[in-house]
Symmetry: C2
Subunit: 246 residues, 2 copies
Amino acid sequence: MIESFKLKILESGRCASKANYCHKCAVRDRAFCAALDNTEIDELGELSDRKHYRAGETIFEQATKASVFANIIEGTVKQSKLLPDGRQSITGFLFPGDFVGKVYAENQTSFIEAVTDTHICMFARGSLEDLLDKRPHLARRLFNLSNQSLERAEEWMLLLGRKTAMEKLASFLLLLSKRAAERGEDPDNIHLAMLRADIADYLGLTIETVSRRISGLKSEQIIQLGAGNMVRIVDRRALEAAANNS
Amino acid sequence: MIESFKLKILESGRCASKANYCHKCAVRDRAFCAALDNTEIDELGELSDRKHYRAGETIFEQATKASVFANIIEGTVKQSKLLPDGRQSITGFLFPGDFVGKVYAENQTSFIEAVTDTHICMFARGSLEDLLDKRPHLARRLFNLSNQSLERAEEWMLLLGRKTAMEKLASFLLLLSKRAAERGEDPDNIHLAMLRADIADYLGLTIETVSRRISGLKSEQIIQLGAGNMVRIVDRRALEAAANNS
DNA sequence: CGATATCTTGAGGAATCTCAATACTAGTGG
DNA sequence: CCACTAGTATTGAGATTCCTCAAGATATCG
């Protein structure tokens, strides 16, 4: 099982023609490269490098000098920050089609880790920035996505500072549901790929409180827990009421 | 007093030559327009419109359709989000040289209010975006500033989710101090221009807790409170220790 | 099937919130 | 110049939510 996985890494790590795989890329229409036409995408493809990470592996370290930029092709990724004493905050979960990293930024200021087995499409910062200068619509697309990240972060600040544990949990599940729908997956049957500890660090709670509130939603018949960390949203209306969203 | 203020608004609201006042603008070297040379700045100046707001006035409403973009010339501004039941989160305080709003964004998703009497330099989104297409280095500068905002938001998520009330207060004072220093002001004698309620909404606390922790820092002789909401940092080392910053 | 990691549940404690009273401050009018 | 007022800040006491510590249950993987 592990061996066959390693083989797959070698296989798709460096293809004969990089540009080629962009055209049939799973996130071709959703990632930032959707701003490019079929000829331009070849240019971008030449700069790219596909990488695979196992669940739990670190993709970028916090405080790394040379910054990189990548698209997530498959898998779930978490982005986090640490306090000196080990307390942790997850600033976001990233899904296929999302990008990770910042262009023009000198330093990597967050940890990026694979939550599940993950495929990413990585670009060296420098060469990507050169391309941005030549393709302003690509730069504009990235700018928009960056603004969207900021918007999400600000929304999350409201959650962290002002919502109760129950509201946080419900909001979190609805967020996962919405993002699953964007990827064309069933919004009422979502995969809790991350550990309770990660959910806790994302919501500013402890593992135990996360667990208790999930149990609460279950006993109120708002959600059901299935095998393989699947969560079924049974009563979406009630979940939305519990989230108290704006 | 009030009347003379109103006169000043009329006076500088629309000058004879807009471009002219850019050259002697107080934030000429710090705002995003620092990316422009003296001829380019005239082009930008033509798109600008100076506005004044009294302390407490709303600058932009949340959920406004036509989005605007502005530089803060003078004063302190707060950016906030609301929950349906009135709970509030301040997502940031903005100071001279900072910008407010998002280019390319269709909707205004936050409230922007003047904390003190404020002067801003406002641009219509559309015409600014046209200029960005012509001046890629300006677009790049804005992109960088947007990334910086995101970076700050992520840092604040760590504070909101994982820091204690004491750590939050100390971190907040150090942030004000750092930003004051950037503006060339005394970093050890900072102006708490905002209400306790605003500080509470920024830190995810209640007014009472904010007040108690400030009193705590005072009784430990780490800070002193002066007239006019001035705070003197007496023992910076201790304040940094209390903040537990990364 | 056993070992390890993860999750759930319980009981008690701590930090923060809520409610309430008091003190301060700045501006207003006498 | 001083008293008055309205808004704001501080302080206190009790309530509450969430955290901490600990035990037990479940899941996963070889």
